[in-house]
Amino acid sequence: MKIKTRFPKLILFFVVLLTTLSMLSPLTNVKAAEKTYQIATDITFAPFEFQDTSGEFVGIDMDLVAAIAKDQGFKYEIKPLGFNAAVQALESKQVDAVIAGMSITDERKIKFNFSDPYFDSGIIMAVSEGNDDVSSYNDLKGKKVAVKTGTEGASFAESIKDKYGFSIVTFDDSANMYEDVKTGNSVAVFDDYPVLAYGIKQGNGLKSVTDKEAGASYGFAVSKGENAELLEMFNTGLANLKASGEYQKIMDKYLETGSNTAATEDTGFFGLLKESMPSLMTGLKMTLILTVVSLIIATIVGIVFGLMRIAKSRLLSTIAMIYIDIFRGTPLIVQAFFIYFGIPAAFDFRITAFVAGLITLSLNAGAYMAEIVRGGIQSVDKGQMEAARSLGLPYGKAMLKVVLPQAIQLMIPAFINQFVITLKDTSILSIIGINELTQSGKIIIARNLESFQMWIIVGIIYFIVIMILTKVSNVLERRIKNGKA
């Protein structure tokens, strides 16, 4: 009995604790990082960047940057955002540079300055292991081919699709793209040679069927007109590494046959579970922090705008209505992109993905909370406000002491519902590179390519957490009702 009653309070306590801790840490980071270059990268581009089993980012790009930084003596921080987000972040000057196995193209040269090429890539085509029907481009007629958005493989596929008569399906990360081929939705995939070769070596269930098409080269990019000194250091460092033989060592480490397969890979469900748990728990912590902090802010925002919505002043209620309509009338993902990339680019400032995510979720949930608050207040008997006002209480005091306490009770079920929705919505923030639970899952899959089992694990974690929270909320709700009714 005692354990039961203490349980919700304990959870609350932890959540508040975690929240405070994480609120403090990013602030201190920003201040200490004045001369630290922010370098964005992809999260799922093995062998150039991926997380090893201990959660460290490794790969050709990572090792290269580390070696060059050491050689040239600059400080940097890696921001694993995903390829598209990294490119957008560089465009909007959220970061100083991007290294993400990015091909040097004329189109990109318009906006970015590239270093000397540090890797010569090429495109190969791969099909499912058991597929013996497709062995050349000619076999693709009328079929679907998977590519990753913005990659060289995608532009190559685009350039030959009319000639060979196939259609293109695009994906945002390699793991999903390979999965699409394995499940047979697409018959083949075009991808950069090193990536595909690494994936095949990892046992992704594909095989390569064509020779390497000579492709463009990879470069390290900065925004046009910015960070010229960083670009110069990169070039000098790269030349030094090539001269000293360290460059070749890094290449051999990732591209030599059998180098990584030696690592123990326990791909059984429970082996996978055990191996991925630490990363997933870190992700879960972020998910919970985002949910709780944004809901606290959303509650305050919701009360303010909910009150404005029912205010006598037409101006106030119109402002509230516009806010509510905008945030309920657009997708969360668009709001996240707008707040993280759009606004900072337009007004030339930086915010961290965490802050942008928090703002997005708070404003989004706030709009729904405002409607919940409005509904709650309006369902309190009008006589309550009249009785309070007849005693001489001003509107604000009557609202705060009499109407709101009753409204909140009526709002609890809708509030719990919003809590669950917001918790699930945090997964959308993986798109701007926040390392919450879904993103943790994506990162792990990028390494081990076990998407089926990993998404089951991630799904189960969400399910369990939401079930626990729902039960705890129900107990709280019953207690509040019993205490007051």
């Binding site: 309070a388 006002r389 005693l391 009714a485």
Partner: protein
């Protein structure tokens, strides 16, 4: 000067005029009962006396303060006008004591201890001292209304407004509430009471006002109105209810 003075008061909801040029005065210590058929405007008139209803035109002056003037602090005026509602409107989020002490404490009329002490005195007066820590939902209708009266009295008002205080009660509980109101009348409280209890009006009122169709049709002492009504509509109404 009269304690309460209403001049040429009009009130419309859209195109529907519910009060049509009302003139009314209430003297200090006077008990006025408003009677009349449903929809005659009695409750609306009562609610205009503390501005729970916005007045369309005309003047309401209470204690020499013009309520219909935009510059008047209506909250301050309301502190001196207690109101009791048909449906009690007790605050379900507070217990009995909390209901009574909320306004005095929030408006800094008394410390928490003083307010509590006063509340207990008032509860004793309405015969509910043992219910101080009770939840309003657990009280009977008559008990609720007596708590509501105590809540209004906690602000030390010099005028009390009653809006059909016994209409929502089971018959056996009407008496206990009327007794409390009678006691207040005997103590000299200025009161305006909207009621359907004709016997009560006859007993407690110094003056009875009969309203119909948004007008004051007839007014006088209980003896005049109940014993010898002059207006045909008053006669009609009384024939139906008595």
């Amino acid at each position: 000067m009269a304690k309460l003075n209403v001049t040429n008061l009009k009130k419309s909801y859209g195109s529907l005029e519910v009060l049509k040029s009302i003139d009314m005065q209430v003297q200090e210590g006077e008990v006025v009962c408003l009677i009349g058929p449903s929809g005659s405007g009695k409750s609306t008139l009562l609610r205009c006396l503390n501005m729970l209803e916005e007045v369309t035109s005309g003047e309401v002056v209470v204690n020499a303060q013009k309520l219909t003037d935009k510059n008047t602090d209506i909250n301050k005026v309301r502190e001196n006008i207690g109101m009791v509602f048909q449906h009690f409107n007790l605050f379900p989020n507070l217990n009995v004591l909390g209901n009574i002490t909320l306004a005095p404490v929030e408006l800094k009329k008394a410390s928490k201890e003083q307010a509590k002490e006063k509340a207990l005195q008032l509860l004793e007066r309405v015969g509910l001292k043992d219910k101080a820590s009770e939840n309003p939902a657990r009280l009977s209708g008559g008990q609720k209304q007596r708590v509501a009266i105590a809540r209004a009295l906690a602000m030390n008002p010099d005028i009390m407004l009653f809006d059909e205080p016994t209409s929502a009660l089971d018959p056996e509980m009407v008496g206990e509430v009327l007794n409390v109101i009678k006691q207040l009348a005997q103590e000299g409280m200025t009161m305006v009471i909207v009621t359907h209890e004709m016997g009560f009006a006859r007993e407690v009122a110094d003056r009875v006002i009969f309203m119909d169709g948004g007008y004051i049709v007839e007014e006088g002492t209980p003896q005049e109105i109940f014993g010898n009504p002059q207006n045909e509509r008053t006669q009609d109404f009384l024939n139906k209810v008595l």
